[in-house]
């Protein structure tokens, strides 16, 4: 498979790694300092709201990763450039992990806030379904042995899933208005204090840097796989 990457692009991907790793670690150090020490506790939720600084970025990136997954699948259909198929399956695993993290941290946050580990709240439920969409995508890709075919099929599934997300969200929201017990307080207050914005911003940046790091490593794996395949073909 021709990856259609220029040497310059490959060079950037290969060279960027040490820089990315260092900046991720630095950003997380700052992020932890701000989120655990610098920022004040929330006056309603107390210190427990510090979980937000990891929960919110992972939830954002879980959703963003699925958007990238579906977007690159669409682009793959239009251009047939294999790089989009590689982007799609590289981002899928990362997205699934972030969905898992946001579910678990959300649940841990829920215990002190709502008094229960899990609430059948619209957001949590849709997130849970998103996790299974990721899982289906990855399983389907793995279970088809012909990888050329697998990338075509899983791209179709990614798009179907993306079409389905708003429908799922809509139906879960609607269902929630029927079943939601009224006692539960809202997660996010409408305005966040500036002292909380800073750690949230730094943690988001750090998480983003981490995502890019892993993403580049996965791209390098694909590039090497491609090289190995070509050498074997020549032999």
């Amino acid at each position: 498979m021709n990856l259609r990457l220029t040497n310059k692009q490959i060079n950037i991907i290969e060279k960027a790694n040490p820089f990315l790793i260092v900046s991720t670690i630095v950003a997380f150090t700052f992020g932890l300092y701000f989120s655990l020490l610098q920022s004040p506790p929330d006056y309603i939720q107390g210190d427990s709201m510090r979980i937000m600084y990891i929960h919110v970025p992972s939830a954002w990136f879980a959703l963003m990763a699925y958007t990238i997954l579906a977007g690159s699948s669409v682009l793959w259909f239009i251009t047939r450039n294999p790089i989009f198929s590689i982007i799609a399956r590289s981002i899928a695993q990362i997205g699934m992990i972030f969905t898992l993290i946001s579910l678990v941290t959300g649940s841990i946050w829920g215990k002190p806030t709502w008094g229960v580990w899990w609430v059948w709240d619209a957001r949590l439920t849709s997130m849970l379904l998103l996790f299974f969409l990721y899982l289906a995508y990855i399983f389907l890709w793995q279970s088809i042995t012909n990888k050329d075919l697998a990338s075509k099929i899983s791209a179709a599934l990614a798009i179907v899933g993306f079409v389905n997300i708003p429908i799922i969200k809509f139906s879960v929201d609607w269902w929630n208005t029927l079943h939601q017990p009224a006692t539960i307080s809202k997660l996010s207050s409408p305005s966040i204090d500036i002292s909380m914005m800073v750690p949230l911003f730094i943690m988001t940046l750090a998480t983003f840097l981490f995502l890019v790091t892993v993403f580049f490593i996965r791209l390098r794996i694909e590039i090497l796989d491609n090289k190995i395949l070509r050498i074997r073909e020549v032999e």
């Binding site: 299974f132 399983f139 389907l140 179709a156 599934l157 179907v160 429908i167």
Partner: protein
């Protein structure tokens, strides 16, 4: 089109037990209810609304291998595509057969079952309508998933993981008695999606 439909229906007729499999399965899923939750009339009525959807989803899900997989694996799909090159015709014929063979029997026994679970006549009609419109959409969904996963290793669990999140909207609206227009809309949407995706999947595997 008619010939294909006839062929699919005859195929189901020859393996005649398939009509009874799903309806017996459906009945058995429902009669577990009193054993699990007691014989309280009011409670049973509430549970009945939900469990019929589980029964319907499972019977559609468990039989989805018969839509394309069987014909694909023994080579009949090639013959069908050679003779009837319009994939859309093949897909529509599969929708109809699958619905008639695996959903229709459930609707035939539904009146008796709702009688056993003390459902009032008004509610019965609404439940019936919901289930009817929902079942169309669910058949469309399993059809395209089974077309997409033709080449995957034979795992019903993988298919279940793909299908159940897609079923969720149907199940959510299905348990509400007045939402049959929404179910109809959902079914129409899944019809459009399913036509495209199934044809795409079939085309890939035939090549």
């Amino acid at each position: 089109m008619l010939a294909l439909l006839k062929r699919d229906l005859y195929l189901a007729l020859y393996s005649s037990s398939s009509f009874f499999y799903t309806s017996s399965f459906f009945v058995l899923v429902l009669i577990i209810l009193p054993f699990l939750f007691g014989t309280n009339n009011v409670q049973l009525q509430v549970l009945f609304k939900g469990i019929i959807w589980i029964g319907l989803s499972l019977s559609i899900l468990l039989t989805m291998e018969r839509i394309f997989n069987a014909d694909y694996e023994d080579g009949n799909l090639d013959i069908i595509i050679q003779r009837y090159p319009s994939l859309e015709t093949i897909i529509i014929s599969k929708y109809i057969t699958h619905w008639v063979v695996y959903c229709l029997p459930l609707f035939i026994i539904l009146p008796i079952l709702s009688f056993l679970f003390y459902v009032s006549l008004d509610n019965f009609f609404l439940i019936f309508l919901n289930l009817l419109f929902g079942s169309f959409g669910m058949v469309f969904i399993v059809t395209f998933v089974s077309a997409l996963t033709l080449g995957a290793k034979r795992t019903i669990f993988l298919k279940a993981i793909i299908v159940i999140p897609l079923f969720v909207p149907f199940l959510i609206f299905g348990t509400n008695l007045e939402s049959w227009p929404i179910l109809l809309a959902l079914s129409m949407m899944s019809f459009v999606l399913s036509m495209y995706v199934s044809a795409y999947g079939l085309r890939l595997y035939v090549e």
